[in-house]
Every structure is written in structure tokens, then in C-alpha cells.
Symmetry: C2
Subunit: 336 residues, 2 copies
């Protein structure tokens, strides 16, 4: 690569770099997504999905599948189908999350609208989920189907676990990890694993790809949960959403573990009972800082990113593997 | 069969007769369902599903799969898995229907409760759906997977179509048929078809099983829609639910097609605009009777039941096929 190219590369972000490298495949994925999300009989379906699928998500998960397949030397056409599958599953869970998380947003919103959205979200999510399974069968690979159906069950299980664990102050770091593994990491690890399986890679390589996706997904979610208390205008995240929705995430779990009597009473009031007053979010952030909970959470996220990179060592070195490693750095780079 | 047995048989209903015939298989299906709906990490899941799955549904759909496989001489173990799959898909759609149809019930219900139910219904439904796909892969038959994933997409498409078509007076009989084929018949026909495919039956037999399930499902749904205006305490159905939820079903479509100016205004007010006053349900039923819409709908249901029975003629005659034929009679027998 020329010096000019290297400089140009340094200026663009790792996920953009990977997207540029995978451009032809990503275009094929997008075309397949558009084709398969259409519905002859129910034009409402693309209406609902279009804004989610078109509106320039980063396509991180499908890129992981494409990159994993390429890293293992796959030359066939079906990594495109599996990448689209992964994006459909992701979009379906987003749609169903809309229903799930509506509670917090409902105040002040017109009810009719809300319900219409709920109906459409549930059913269109189901449609995408079913389409995902149709797409998988195109690859004609039973192990791929098992991996992705297992991942789907794990995702739902993680979300249900979160329902019961979220407002329960007894939720500890191990339960939190289980939730995160389910609701986020399961799709990351399935995305990378199926790339390797499709390419008929060795078991050790497939295992490494799974471990990479698992650690990357965990890191990704912890960063997300951290930014909810630490974010800024730059990260584009609203601070305090999780607090308002009374979600017990890692920073709060760490602060609760070190809380004295008075602090504990504050967490019981705001998270367990949901009685939140003006200034409570600021006080929560002050408590997180007092116990170094944000910094400690950041270290956990960095650890998982390192684990993700370490897992890649099993793979034959090469441009794609290097880019996957950069992706792990990028995920935590949101923390500066 | 002895005369005593024949008399005993005549006294029990066709679906009970089929259940008795399939008793060992149904027990295995129930055991598999209990095993697969459990969740190590999220005990809420069996809590939510138990009342749906345990509470003695008729298990009509799984029985269709078992019977179709047996009618084709299948001797392996996987019709059990596919029957459980079909029941899981059915239960998942019921859970998601709960969310969808909540609007009508919400008045007077505590909101927190409602939301909790919505959350659990969506996520546990997703879990069952994913579990269904895991179960399918056990049968290790790609065609079966295609049929069931296609059916799942068709079900969701039918439900979405119903969302847009339900309150639209332009909805005609062909759109109604499409909705019914999607939301109900697709799972019936997939249930019977996969039984034949698993048994490696001839294409003509597989096609006949599909046609039987398709016609049976259509008949089943039309009867259901008819009973919503024609039911009684005996049928255990509340009269008028569809009217209150402003669902355009076949009886109303038929009455609207023959409506004069004044009647049309009534349907616009009650169904399209949803302004329903005391006595409107009675008036609606009077209009249905004036135009013979209930009787005509009944004839359509009977026709589809006959089509279902006719499709079976391709299959080798035998006890199971005879019982499947009786099931078609039974579905319309709810109309006396």
C-alpha cells in the first residue's frame, strides 16, 4: 500500500475500512435484504422495516459474517445470505425491543399511535424473523441452522432474563454477564461462527471465531451501558435512559456493591421502586464516580476487547483478520 | 371392531378419537414440549407458557402432523419433533396475538399489568419461535425446514395484512381469503405437509396433504368467524368480539356487498370509524340475517370442509385417513 493510501486509511474509522473492503459483498447483502423484506401481500411490511434497514445502520453484524467467511477463505455465495439473515434477526429484535421498552416513553405519547406501533412492531418483527430462517435454509447447511436457531433462543432468553433482573437490586455481575451474553453477544458470536462453518474451517478456527464474536459483543454492550452514564453529545447517546428505565447495568451494579446504608436506600428508591425526582440522575452519576464504578466498568470493557483480539491469534494472519482486530479496538474507542 | 367399540366410538368426538389413536405419540410430544420450553436461565418462560401449553388445548395441529406421517407409513421418531414444533409456532403466534389484540381489552385494565404482559408475551413468544426452529433442525430435513419457515413468514404476512385490511370496508372476499390462508391455514397445511415429507411420500400425496390442511384451516377459521355472530353458550365463544374489535370477517363482508345506502352508513360508522353504540351489535346481526350472510358463510365453510375431505382421496385408504376425514366434518360440526 502506498504512503498516501496508508494516510487515507488512518483517517477513516475501522468499521468504515472494513465496509470499504467488503463493499461488493455488502452491496449484495443490501440487495438481498431489499428483495426479501418486500411482501407481495402486505406492503406495510417494507414501510415499517425500511427506516430501520435503510437508515444506514453500521451493518456491523453482517460485516462480521462476511469477514469471518473471507478470513477462512470462503469462495461461495452463501455468506451473503447468512449476513442478510443476521441483519434480519437483529432488526427483528430491535422491532420487538420497541414494544418492550415502550413503557418508559409512553407518558405524553398518544396511545393510539403507540398501539399501532406495537402491533406493527410485533408482527413485522415476526415476519423478518421468519424471513431470516428462510434465508438460512438457502445455505443448505444444517450446522449453520442450528447455530443461528440456538442464538435466537439465547437472545430471547437473555431478554426475558433482563425483564426479571433489571429492577432487582440482587442482580450481580454474573447475572448481568448472562443477560449481555444473551441479548447482545449471542448474535455477534453466531455471526462470526457461521462464517467459519460455512467456509468449512477447522474446529479450532470456528471456536476462535465464536470466542471473538462473544467477547466483542460483550465489550460492545458494556460500552453501550457505560455511555448511558458517561456519554456526551459526540457519542449521540442520551445520558440517563437506562437510569430512567430502571435498568440495572454494570456501572450501577458496581456502585451498589460498595454502597453504604444511605446510598443503598437511594438505589432502592430510584431503581427498585422507580421513584425518581429532579436531581436523582446527577446524584446517581456522583455515586458512580465516588466508587470509581465508571472507570472499573471501562476496564471490564477493555478487557473483553483484548480477549476478542487475542482469540483471533488462532486465525491465519491477513488483512481481514487485522481489520477484525481493529474493530475490537474501535468498539472501545467510543470510550476515548 | 366390535359393536360395543363402535358404539363407544360414535359417542366420542372425532378429535378425541384421533387423540386416543395417537395417544403414545401425543404423550411423547407433550414430554418434548415440557422439556424444550423450560429455560435454565429464565424461569419466567415456562411460567408464561405453561398456562397456554398445559391448559389442554386440543393439540389439533400437532395431531395433524402425527396423523399425516402415520398415514404415509412413517416409522421414525421425528414426527414427534415436528408436531412439537408446530405447537410451539402456534403458541408463539397466540402470545403475539395477545399483544396485538390488547387494544380492545385495555379499557379498565391496569396499565402496568398490561405492559408487563406485553413484554412477556413478545419475548416469550420469540423464545418459543426460536425453540421451534431448533426442534426442526433435529429432524435433519432441509425441505421440512423450508416448509415451516415459509409457513412462518406467511403467518406473519397474513397477520400484517389483517392489520391493514380489518377496518377497511373495501376488503373483499379475496383479501379475506388471503388473510385466512395466512393467519390460520398456513400452519395447518404446513403441519400436514411436513408429515408427508418426513415419510418420504410421493409428491402427489404430499400435495394432497397440503391441500387437505389448507382447506381444513380455511374452513376452521371461517367457522370461527361465523360463530362470532352465531355462537351460543355451548360453543364457548363470546358473541360480538370481532364486531367490537372492528374486524371485517366474511359474514360482514357479505352483508356489506349487499348493503343499501343506510346500511352502508351503519357499517362505516361501526367498523370503519369504530363508533359503536348500545344495540349496534344486535342491529349488525339483524343485517347479517336480512342478507342471508350467516347462512352463505356457513355454506362456504362447508364447501372448504368438503374440499379437505376430497383431497384425502389420493391417500391410501385406512384408519388414520378416515379419522382425518372425520376431523373435517368435526370442524364444521361446530355449526350444527
Amino acid at each position: 500500500m502506498s504512503l498516501g493510501e496508508a494516510t487515507k486509511r488512518a483517517a477513516i474509522k475501522p468499521h468504515e475500512q472494513l465496509a470499504a473492503y467488503l463493499a461488493p459483498e455488502l452491496e449484495a447483502v443490501n440487495a438481498l435484504i431489499r428483495e426479501r423484506m418486500s411482501s407481495e401481500h402486505a406492503p406495510r411490511i417494507p414501510e415499517v422495516t425500511a427506516h430501520l434497514i435503510e437508515a444506514g445502520g453500521k451493518r456491523l453484524r453482517p460485516m462480521l459474517t462476511l469477514a469471518a467467511a473471507k478470513a477462512c477463505g470462503y469462495m461461495g455465495p452463501y455468506h451473503i445470505h447468512l449476513a442478510a439473515t443476521v441483519e434480519f434477526i437483529h432488526t427483528a429484535t430491535l422491532l420487538h425491543d420497541d414494544v418492550v421498552d415502550e413503557s418508559a416513553q409512553r407518558r405524553g405519547r398518544p396511545t393510539a399511535n403507540l398501539l399501532w406501533d406495537n402491533k406493527s412492531s410485533v408482527l413485522v418483527g415476526d415476519y423478518l424473523f421468519a424471513r431470516a430462517f428462510q434465508l438460512m435454509t438457502d445455505a443448505d447447511n444444517m450446522r449453520v441452522l442450528q447455530i443461528l436457531s440456538n442464538a435466537s433462543a439465547t437472545i430471547a432468553e437473555g431478554e426475558v432474563l433482563q425483564l426479571t433482573a433489571a429492577q432487582d437490586l440482587k442482580t450481580d455481575e454474573s447475572v448481568y454477564l448472562q443477560v449481555v451474553r444473551g441479548k447482545t453477544a449471542a448474535l455477534f458470536s453466531a455471526a462470526t461462527e457461521v462464517g467459519g462453518v460455512l467456509a468449512e474451517a477447522d474446529d479450532t478456527v470456528v471456536k476462535a471465531l465464536f470466542d471473538y464474536g462473544d467477547a466483542l459483543g460483550i465489550s460492545f454492550q458494556i460500552v453501550d451501558d457505560l455511555l448511558d452514564y458517561w456519554g456526551s453529545a459526540q457519542t449521540g447517546k442520551n445520558i440517563g435512559d437506562d437510569f430512567r428505565e430502571r435498568k440495572l447495568t454494570l456501572p450501577v451494579i458496581k456502585a451498589i456493591a460498595k454502597a453504604d446504608e444511605t446510598e443503598r436506600a437511594f438505589w432502592v428508591k430510584t431503581i427498585e421502586k422507580g421513584k425518581q425526582d429532579e436531581g436523582d440522575l446527577d446524584h446517581a452519576i456522583a455515586l458512580l464516580n465516588r466508587h470509581n464504578a465508571l472507570e472499573e466498568t471501562r476496564e471490564v470493557a477493555l478487557d473483553w476487547a483484548e480477549k476478542a483480539k487475542a482469540a483471533l491469534s488462532v486465525l491465519p494472519a491477513g488483512e481481514v483478520v487485522h481489520m477484525l482486530s481493529d474493530i475490537a479496538d474501535y468498539v472501545v474507542a467510543r470510550l476515548r
